[in-house]
């Protein structure tokens, strides 16, 4: 590392063996983590960076990638697009990073994408999952290891349809920004396919960070829908759940939303049993041995259970590792070529990076909320794992969008 560069260095809790350090001290691989330490993204970013750190430490302890150590530099975008763009430039110009991982907010991600693509630096996106990154605004300098909005919504819609095949009248409620908009658009598309005579009665768009959902709840209930699809998550979902419960909402109306670990931790016993949930892959969705091993490591490091964000961030580092090793170089163009079509044995099972749009065939998960005596919070039962290639937009579908947005490849 350059001495004196002001940067938030990965605090290496498990120092690499001395010998290894010496052997690989030449020319480390510089990895920039660009995250949004603000508002609703704060916690997600913290988890993700923790996941990245664990992976980096592991890799460095084993001698790094192609004999080179990884240097991690973390930057904060404050969840503002302008700061995001500037910090990206900073990472590229001043810190001279080879690769980027992040960020959380879709809006910031798109701003980062322009800058980073122009400077030809590869970014793995593992949380901001707007489809625009790989489809509408495709650039070869991005790869996605989180199910995108399209995949996620399609899988969740199919799950809901399987559980409630008779439901025809729907309402939706989603945070009013890129992510929510795209999820609900995909839901509308898929439900029309599955139930041609279905109807969406009403769509609510609370702003992200909304704390008072009563008016939304009564407005939805007034429509008497057969089911409600929602892409609320995090604190918003906590607030919604608590405010909806006294209305008997969950007894009356089948509901699906992004119920994952942090929401369960916050809600405790207030989490409604039997309600449908979708998620991106934490330990109770996919308790394979590799995942459980990671859980142990993570708990040792942070004293808490890892959530999906940490899992995906961890996988991102390993994807980079695999690609660099295959390319035998840290040269961006070579790594991109190597990455296309690569298959990674990740915490969430195997997935492949589709050469066309760099979308990973990462799985989507659905389940039903239930108590489990082994955990101090509720988790899922009846989990369904849908491999990404069953729900993603077909290659023709992607090309069609590209025709509209002017992407050529």
């Amino acid at each position: 590392a350059q001495a004196g560069t002001p940067a938030l260095k990965a605090d290496t809790k498990t120092p690499a063996p001395k010998a290894a350090v010496k052997a690989d001290a030449k020319d480390p691989i510089r990895l920039g983590a660009i995250w949004d330490y603000a508002g609703p993204c704060y916690m997600l970013s913290e988890s993700a960076v923790q996941g990245i750190k664990i992976a980096v430490d592991e890799i460095n302890a084993k001698g790094g990638i192609i004999g080179r150590k990884i240097d991690l530099i973390v930057r904060d975008t404050e969840m503002k697009v302008d700061v995001g763009a500037r910090e990206t430039k900073d990472l590229i110009l001043r810190e001279k990073v080879h690769f980027l991982i992040g960020p959380c907010s879709s809006g910031v991600a798109l701003a980062v994408q322009v800058v980073q693509a122009e400077s030809k630096v590869l970014r793995i996106t593992c949380m901001a999952n707007t489809e625009a990154q790989v489809v509408d605004k495709f650039t070869p300098y991005v790869a996605q290891v989180v199910p995108n909005t399209y995949m996620e919504a399609i899988a969740a819609t199919r799950f809901m349809n399987k559980k409630y095949p008779a439901a025809k009248k729907f309402c939706t409620i989603a945070p009013d920004y890129e992510f929510g908009r795209r999820e609900e658009a995909a839901f509308a598309e898929e439900i029309k396919r599955l139930v041609p005579d279905s109807e969406i009665l009403y769509q609510a768009w609370p702003k992200p960070g909304e704390k008072d959902f009563t008016s939304f709840i009564t407005a939805i209930m007034a429509q008497k829908p057969d089911a409600v699809h929602s892409s609320l998550f995090g604190g918003d979902l906590v607030a919604f759940t608590k405010q909806a419960a006294p209305y008997g909402f969950f007894e009356k109306i089948p509901f699906i939303a992004l119920y994952d670990l942090p929401v369960f931790v916050a809600l405790g016993n207030d989490a409604p049993d039997g309600v449908m949930a979708f998620g991106r892959g934490c330990f109770f969705m996919d308790p394979n041995p590799k995942m459980m091993e990671f859980v142990d490591k993570y708990r040792k490091a942070r004293g808490a259970y890892p959530d999906s964000w940490a899992v995906q961030a961890y996988d991102s580092v390993y994807l980079l590792k695999a690609a660099v090793e295959k390319a035998k170089s840290s040269d961006t163009e070579k790594v991109i070529v190597a990455m296309e079509g690569i298959t990674l044995d990740s915490l969430r099972g195997k997935f492949t990076i589709r050469p066309l749009d760099h979308m990973g065939s990462v799985p989507c998960y659905q389940g039903v909320i239930a108590k489990d005596p082994n955990y101090p919070f509720k988790i899922w039962k009846d989990v369904v794992r849908v491999p990404g290639d069953q729900v993603w937009r077909s290659e023709e579908g992607v090309r069609e969008v590209w025709k509209k947005t002017g992407v050529t490849r």
């Binding site: 560069t5 002001p6 940067a7 938030l8 330490y37 930057r75 904060d76 404050e78 969840m79 503002k80 697009v81 302008d82 700061v83 763009a85 500037r86 910090e87 430039k89 900073d90 110009l93 001043r94 879709s106 809006g107 910031v108 798109l110 701003a111 994408q113 322009v114 800058v115 122009e118 707007t130 625009a132 605004k137 009013d176 920004y177 890129e178 908009r181 768009w205």
Partner: protein, 322 residues
């Protein structure tokens, strides 16, 4: 009492040599500092322009607008949308962005200039938020939370250095125009309205109309800053016009010194560079900024530049006495 009133003309602020020095430094910058800091310098110039537009109303007219970010954002959105959605010429879009901000300034100004003091601030805040909400919620047209990406300047401005020179040029011209305005009869009337608007009305000045003109000018310059910004980082997003952004020129101006023309510029430079530097260490930047603001409010009441000027003036006075 005022021994040095007659030689006001020769006071250090007006003596000009330091301005030439600064411009020379600006021209030389690309050869001296790293690309990253050049970037920050460009950003500081743009934000300085934004702060100057704010200070036309605050320091010179005595009204504190808390919705400037709306005009700044509209400037950015104007250029971005015309450029990316309608494939218009860059320069036309650039001018249209400023025009859009000025137009919004006119419409909003009509309602705001009737109020004074904190009421004015709050109403501008409200209108700023209204514009923010519209842009934020009008997903199909403005891209909502995504914002708009791909706002590229013409080929010859694409490199950091060339765009930096472009920013420097625009900044110098704009700052000069603003400086002239504040020293013109119109600028004096603004000052009179700041001091006592009732009295000024009885001098035969239609204050509402003059405030409106100032409001539109200020909005146009804020729009100019926004239109410079969007191609700088190739994108705009609603967060450029949220009210928190409106707080930035307020901070910069009071930090640097609202009473002096270049106070806002100094304040912006301090904040921008400090910010760029600090973010490298920690993401607890706001707490540092907050403390900095409090320190300046308490210990440097006239802002940093005001403080420096006072020190220099005192030294001069002492020099004259001895």
């Amino acid at each position: 009492m005022e021994a040095n009133t007659t030689d006001k003309k020769s006071s250090w602020l007006k003596s000009g040599w330091w301005l030439i020095l600064l411009v020379a430094a600006g021209l030389a910058a690309p050869y001296v500092i790293s690309e990253f800091y050049l970037l920050i310098l460009g950003e500081a110039l743009i934000m300085s322009l934004f702060a100057l537009s704010f200070n036309l109303l605050f320091g010179h007219m005595g009204q504190l607008p808390f919705g400037q970010a709306a005009f700044y954002g509209l400037g950015g959105y104007g250029i971005a949308m015309l450029l990316t959605k309608y494939q218009m010429n860059f320069w036309l879009s650039f001018v249209a962005g400023i025009g859009l901000a000025a137009l919004a300034g006119l419409i909003i100004g009509i309602f705001c200039v009737r109020l004074r003091g904190i009421y004015f601030s709050i109403l501008t805040l409200a209108f700023g938020q209204l514009i923010f909400v519209i842009i934020y919620k009008w997903h199909d047209f403005t891209g909502g939370d995504d914002g708009i990406q791909g706002v590229f300047p013409p080929e010859f401005l694409k490199t950091s250095v060339s765009y930096y020179y472009f920013v420097l040029l625009v900044f110098c011209i704009a700052a000069f125009i603003l400086w002239r305005i504040t020293h013109s009869p119109f600028g004096y009337i603004l000052k009179a309205m700041r001091e006592n608007s009732e009295r000024t009305e009885f001098l035969g000045v239609p204050i509402a109309r003059y405030q409106l003109i100032a409001f539109v000018i200020s909005a146009a310059f804020a729009g100019l800053a926004g239109a410079l910004w969007a191609p700088f980082y190739r994108s705009v997003a609603p967060s450029t016009l949220i009210w928190i952004k409106s707080g930035e020129p307020v901070m910069a101006t009071i930090l640097g010194g609202a009473g002096l023309f270049f106070g806002p510029v100094l304040g912006t430079f301090i904040i921008t560079f400090f910010h760029a530097y600090i973010l490298g260490f920690t993401h607890f930047w706001p707490i540092i900024m907050g403390t900095l603001i409090l320190i300046v409010i308490f210990f440097l009441p006239g802002g940093v530049l005001g403080f420096i000027k006072e020190k220099l003036d005192n030294r001069k006075k002492r020099g004259q006495q001895s």
